[in-house]
């Protein structure tokens, strides 16, 4: 998967037509084979842009930053990124008219060891759900595979509550409370976050397993029905915690109980907790 040339062309065109102020894409780090997000403001720097299967980070995270606020933005999105974008649009965090979205028919990205990311293997929306133009012309339009529950979620489900608690305590013990997960999450845009230290009165920021437990659990519940499974959080975690377990678990519960809801797939779909149906089950509520 290499769309470097197409993206450079598109970005140059957008700058030349005066349609955008900033183009958000990827560039090489300059010293290894990894890529860093690039916020290009100077048309002459378009040649720095690249796109390969190393273009991992979900760029919609940058929509909440000073550099992009109230600017006209050109942006590269993969399938999962576009779901996040869709949700941000629905939640009125960005204006559609300020965006020019360049869609990528994604074939999956790879981790630092060159292996295809787990969420890409299981991905059911590789093609963007919202875009202005696709890099290769038209979307492939292939049918999305049916939703399936991951094996690791099945493993968690098989545990009884005591085991499950013990397992997560073990996981959260390694948390260093840097909050990289929250900061890298495109769906987390609250100016004052309830798990973020300093402003928070709930979590005073002491790094204990119990505070990590509570903070991450609260955080994952705030993202229930909104997580798009881009796994920015998991890739950001310096302790490599399997944070997707929390989110995928929520996703599965919501999919099964709330009319097969998946976050950000349909434009204007505000999320599981905004839709009410008499058929909604209540047996999972304590």
């Amino acid at each position: 998967m290499d769309y470097t040339n197409q993206i450079r062309e598109i970005a140059s065109k957008l700058f030349a037509e005066g349609k955008i102020d900033v183009f958000v894409g990827y560039r090489m780090t300059g010293f290894d084979e990894n890529q860093v997000p690039a916020l290009i403001r100077d048309p002459n720097e378009v040649s720095k842009l690249v796109f390969t299967d190393k273009s991992v980070f979900n760029l919609t995270n940058y929509l909440k930053q000073d550099h992009t606020r109230n600017k006209r933005i050109g942006m590269v999105v993969k399938g999962c990124d576009s779901r996040a974008l869709n949700l941000l649009l629905t939640e009125s965090q960005v204006k559609r008219e300020n965006l020019h979205i360049v869609g990528i028919p994604c074939k999956g990205v790879v981790d630092e060891n060159g292996n295809k990311m787990q969420n890409c293997i299981e991905c059911i929306f590789p093609n963007p759900v919202v875009f202005d133009e696709m890099v290769d012309g038209t979307p492939t339009g292939s049918e999305a595979p049916p939703y399936q529950v991951n094996t690791d979620i099945q493993n968690i489900a098989a545990m009884d509550l005591v085991e499950r608690r013990a397992y997560f305590e073990e996981v959260f013990e390694s948390c260093i409370r840097c909050n990289a997960c929250r900061h890298s999450c495109p769906m987390c845009y609250c100016a004052k976050c309830c798990i973020d230290q300093e402003t928070s009165t709930l979590y005073h920021g002491a790094n204990t397993t119990s505070s990590a437990f509570h903070a991450l659990m609260t955080w994952s519940l705030h993202l229930a029905g909104r997580c798009v499974d881009c796994r920015n959080c998991e890739k950001a975690c310096p302790s490599h915690l399997p944070l997707h377990l929390l989110h995928k678990w929520n996703e599965q519960v919501i999919y099964e109980n709330f009319q097969e809801h998946l976050a950000g797939v349909h434009e204007g779909d505000r999320g599981a907790f905004y839709k009410y149906s008499m058929k909604d089950p209540d047996d999972f509520i304590m």
């Binding site: 780090t29 010293f31 920015n232 490599h240």
Partner: protein, 356 residues
């Protein structure tokens, strides 16, 4: 400081490690989710002293815990009482295995701030009670640039005992400090020599160690001249370049939390009913709230200013104040950065915008 140098092989080293672990409170890199963190170990199989830098957390928390209880208190109608905590990690003698050069060096840098003016006694006690056994790197990793900074990687006495891999499966064991020599004695070095597990080295050994070091130094791709960087950075407080290089930073705190030299902390209280604990936990200047004052005034309200503080604190301010760079070139921040920002690249890029 004269150096004691012994030679052994892989098997001898393993036996040596096993003996250390069985006789001492030992901390070493333990793997979890593909990442190594320094933890208490009771058997050699559980740890990996040769864990790669990129996958290993700093050992800093053993000296400056991620969250330390600084006091406990009870406050009810009868009055208030405060007591110091019974923090266990303050306790006795301990040994750290597999600490890398850079990580050990970071402690020497931190000593400067902890020992000026008010002396942090907890930190000092932990320092004094700890024997550091380093595993020296054979080859630079992707983000390493320790040889570019102001310390003598070859002759560093940041660790008490240095382990150096030689050629032909040889392993050199070097006592770098008095503490290290005493420790080797305690670990029955003489008996090991008479068992033939260890051999006393001849005069060719220092040359072999040096050769090993030279091969290591040659493996670095990232190189800079820190004096030049110091000089240039000290002139560019107002450079607009900081805004460009910080544009893709997402203001998480990861770089500071994994950094072996970052030492900013915050103090917070946790109180349930009548009893409470006061914690001292990591904090980061990348955090927007770091300098936000109660009245709403914030001297560093925007990201590039915070980034500038971080870069300049590392390469200018700390140098001015304490005579050292607050960076040891371990590359942990770059390895952990969610968006792959490299401090090396940023510092280089910014400093190249001015002439000396």
């Amino acid at each position: 400081m004269s150096v004691e140098l012994f030679v052994t092989d892989k098997a001898g080293l393993t036996k040596f490690y096993e003996a250390i672990i069985s006789k001492n409170e030992t901390y070493a890199p333990v793997e979890k989710f593909g990442k190594y963190d320094f933890k208490r170990v009771s058997s050699f199989d559980a740890c990996n002293p040769d864990a790669p830098i990129a996958q290993t957390m700093s050992a800093k928390p053993l000296f400056f815990p991620r969250s330390a209880k600084i006091m406990k208190y009870t406050a009810d109608h009868s009055g208030t009482s405060v007591k110091e905590t019974d923090e266990d990690s303050l306790a006795g003698k301990r040994v750290i295995l597999g600490m890398k050069h850079c990580d050990a060096r970071a402690l020497q840098v931190l000593d400067k701030v902890y020992n000026w003016d008010y002396i942090d006694t907890d930190y000092q006690r932990r320092r004094e009670n700890t024997v550091i056994i380093s595993a020296r790197c054979d080859k630079a990793e992707t983000h390493c640039f320790c040889t570019s900074l102001d310390y003598d990687v070859e002759h560093s006495d940041a660790m008490d005992v240095a382990i150096v891999n030689g050629t032909d499966g040889k392993v050199f064991i070097e006592a770098r400090t008095e503490k290290g020599k005493v420790f080797l004695k305690e670990m029955n070095i003489e008996q090991r020599i008479s068992n033939n597990e260890f051999q006393v080295t001849d005069e060719t050994a220092p040359a072999a160690v040096k050769q090993q070091y030279e091969a290591f130094a040659a493996s670095f791709r990232l190189k800079m001249d820190y004096t030049e960087v110091n000089a240039r950075l000290s002139k560019i407080f107002d450079s607009p370049e900081f805004e460009n290089v910080s544009a893709n930073c997402i203001s998480c705190n990861t770089c500071a939390f994994v950094c072996p030299t970052c030492h900013c902390f915050k103090i917070s209280d946790e109180k349930v009913k009548d009893t409470g604990v006061r914690y001292k936990s990591y904090d980061s200047c990348n955090n927007g709230y770091f300098t936000l004052m109660a009245g709403g005034h914030n001297p560093r309200p925007v990201k590039y200013r915070r980034w500038r503080q971080r870069a300049l604190h590392k390469f200018v301010y700390y140098k001015e104040r304490f005579g050292e760079n607050l960076c040891v070139g371990c590359g942990k921040c770059t390895n952990s950065c969610p968006v792959n920002i490299s401090i090396f690249e940023v510092v280089k890029q910014v400093s190249e915008t001015v002439s000396v």
